[in-house]
């Protein structure tokens, strides 16, 4: 009986490992290949060496990437755009969720329903009308001391940021989480004379770490990974984000080692960030995120 149980759990573990191998092998292959010259990548392909950093290992591909593509500029753009989107997103969405969850605002039910209704509209259906729309929007620029006015947001940083700040799913996640924080805390703070914004900032938000981490990751991933949108609205090289950089590798002769190096370069930061936030992310999704 005991042996049987042991066998069963060993079997389960084997299945777990099998799934882990399938999930990880392409990523390991990418990282390892980024360190090898093309010839060796193809040479190693028929053996386990494809997944091992052996042979002629160097960072030459990475050096070549920075020669071929303005990679530093792209990385900087993506870091900036994603960071601003995440920070403003956390602020705007949590503030809205706070009022919807903890304040007696008239008409908030209708507003909340309308916000949740936006979840059924896939971004792909909005993308093309949105391109046309942002091209009609006014745009003010402070140039020295004069405020300059122009039309059209195409080819700017804000067109990559502002449309993605407010997000119904983030508002929903914050709302769910805020509901689990006792409302007596607000009452106590109000008796001490705190205003609503102070309650938001000093009572509720400090208790909402897991929800904030989840929203941060769920806002960061699409911001960093965005491809379709910048493809359509950004033309200038100095404004492009990392994903668009991929197009540079398919002009003339393709060097797969360089492609793998660039792919690793834009993937590793996300993986590191994810591992750092992993625990609160998985826990928060599991506890507050999605129940019916």
């Amino acid at each position: 009986m005991k042996n049987q149980l042991l066998l069963k759990s060993a079997g389960t573990m084997l299945v777990r490992i099998l799934f882990a191998v399938v999930a990880a092998f392409p990523i390991v292959f990418m990282l390892v290949s980024s360190l090898k010259p093309d010839q060796q990548i193809f040479g190693d392909m028929s053996s386990l060496a494809a997944f091992l950093p052996v042979g002629n290992i160097s960072f030459d591909n990475y050096a070549a990437v920075f020669d071929r593509v303005p990679a530093a500029r792209f990385l900087l753009n993506s870091v900036g755009v994603s960071a601003v989107t995440v920070i403003l997103g956390i602020f705007v969405n949590s503030l809205c969720a706070f009022a919807l969850s903890r304040m007696q605002v008239r008409g908030k039910k209708i507003v909340f329903t309308a916000i949740l209704a936006t979840l059924i509209v896939p971004f792909q259906t909005l993308a093309l009308p949105l391109v046309w729309w942002v091209n009609q929007l006014p745009y003010f620029e402070l140039n020295g001391f004069s405020l300059e006015f122009s039309k059209g947001w195409l080819d700017t940083y804000q067109v990559q940021i502002i449309p993605f700040i407010a997000n119904a799913f983030s508002i929903y996640l914050f709302h769910q989480y805020f509901e689990s924080i006792p409302k007596e805390l607000d009452e106590a703070a109000r008796i001490d004379g705190a205003g609503w914004f102070k309650i938001y900032r000093q009572v509720v938000m400090p208790l909402s770490g897991p929800a904030t981490a989840t929203v941060a990751i769920l806002t960061f991933l699409p911001a960093w990974n965005s491809y379709l949108w910048p493809l359509m609205v950004v033309q200038s090289e100095e404004l492009r984000p990392v994903m668009i950089g991929i197009q540079y590798f398919f002009q003339l002769n393709v060097s797969w080692g360089e492609v793998m190096a660039y792919a690793s370069l834009i993937t590793v930061p996300v993986v590191v960030l994810f591992i750092a936030f992993q625990r609160s992310f998985v826990n928060s999704i599991a506890s507050s995120g999605v129940k019916g």
Binding site: R16, A20, A99, P122, I165, I246
Partner: protein
């Protein structure tokens, strides 16, 4: 004494002069709560930024898209925008590529929905209970999700070559018997290849949703079923599966919507080819809207896509509704 009366200051407002009990409505409002008006103002002030942004970047473009579909608008054009009725739709429904795209998306969705949700559930079950190294496995299973679809597509584009890693692995595990195809170059294998990599990338996300559902099932139910001496399968069938009711519809809806909107993989890997065997609705919309700058035609395609998503979700809701 009498001279005091006329100099008495007049009340600032008529209401203030009346005793509170004589105006019911005002009294109730005043009794509501101290700071009621302030709460309304700050509440709306806090809702406003998010609400205005959603209005500007979801509601307005959605309505615009609806309207533009019936015009001849182009992204950059000297001509004024004109109403053209159903012209765009007539053109769309007489385009054989559009039907091919519909068929491809249907194929993709019909395979992806059961296979991906099933695999994701298996993964969630494998890492549901605590064991040594559970966090390692959770992280590894989720790794493909944090890798962008664009990077994933690029990576698999390389692995799917005739002399690529996938065919080498197939050859190795079959002792040289299987000579793999040129996956993306052959119209018969291009879509299956896209399906495999899509499942590989996204299954981890739905695993997390399943995991949330699994964690929500009370442990007492499992203990009770263990006392009754149920087998593992019975436990899954009668405790786990019914307990995942809400999660099930959520997973179903998210996978379906994601599948219908297939785009990134196609754009990086096949550009709709070979011979239109992988083109999709969104790919066609982006092609006409962005490359050819035909905003109106692209809006028409987007509108058809949106209606399709609505119909499919409505049907799914109907099929998975609670049956008492």
């Amino acid at each position: 004494m009498a001279t005091d009366l006329p100099t008495r200051p007049r009340p600032a407002t008529p209401e203030a002069a009346l005793p509170p009990s004589s105006t019911d409505g005002k009294a109730r409002r005043a009794h509501r709560r101290p700071g009621f008006r302030r709460e309304q103002l700050s509440g709306w002030g806090m809702i406003a930024p998010a609400a205005l942004l959603l209005l500007a970047f979801i509601f307005i473009p959605a309505i615009l898209g609806f309207g533009l579909a019936f015009t001849n608008a182009r992204l950059i054009s000297p001509r004024p925008v004109e109403f053209v009725g159903l012209d765009n739709f007539a053109r769309l429904f007489s385009d054989p590529t559009f039907y091919r795209a519909l068929l491809n998306v249907a194929y993709f969705t019909v395979v992806i929905v059961p296979v991906q949700s099933g695999l994701a559930l298996v993964m969630a079950l494998l890492i549901n209970k605590k064991f040594r190294g559970v966090n390692f496995f959770r992280t590894v299973y989720f790794l493909p999700v944090v890798t962008s679809m664009v990077v994933v597509s690029l990576l698999w584009l390389f692995m799917y070559r005739k002399d690529g890693l996938i065919n080498e692995i197939l050859s190795a595990v079959s002792f040289g018997l299987i000579d793999g195809p040129d996956w993306l170059g052959d119209p018969n294998t291009a879509m299956p290849a896209i399906i495999i990599l899509s499942i590989w990338q996204a299954a981890g996300f739905h695993m997390i949703i399943w995991l949330a559902g699994l964690q929500g099932i009370s442990g007492e139910l499992y203990e009770a079923s263990q006392l009754d001496g149920t087998s593992r399968w019975q436990q899954f069938r009668y405790v786990t599966w019914p307990g995942l009711f809400h999660t099930r519809s959520l997973v179903l809806v998210t996978i379906t919507i994601q599948a219908l909107g297939l785009f990134d993989q196609i754009s990086v890997m096949t550009q709709g080819g070979p011979m239109d065997s992988t083109t999709t609705i969104i790919y066609e919309a982006v092609q006409s809207g962005y490359r050819q700058q035909e905003t109106s035609y692209a809006s028409a395609i987007s509108l058809v896509f949106f209606v399709l998503v609505l119909i499919v979700s409505a049907v799914q809701r109907h099929l998975t509704r609670e049956k008492d």
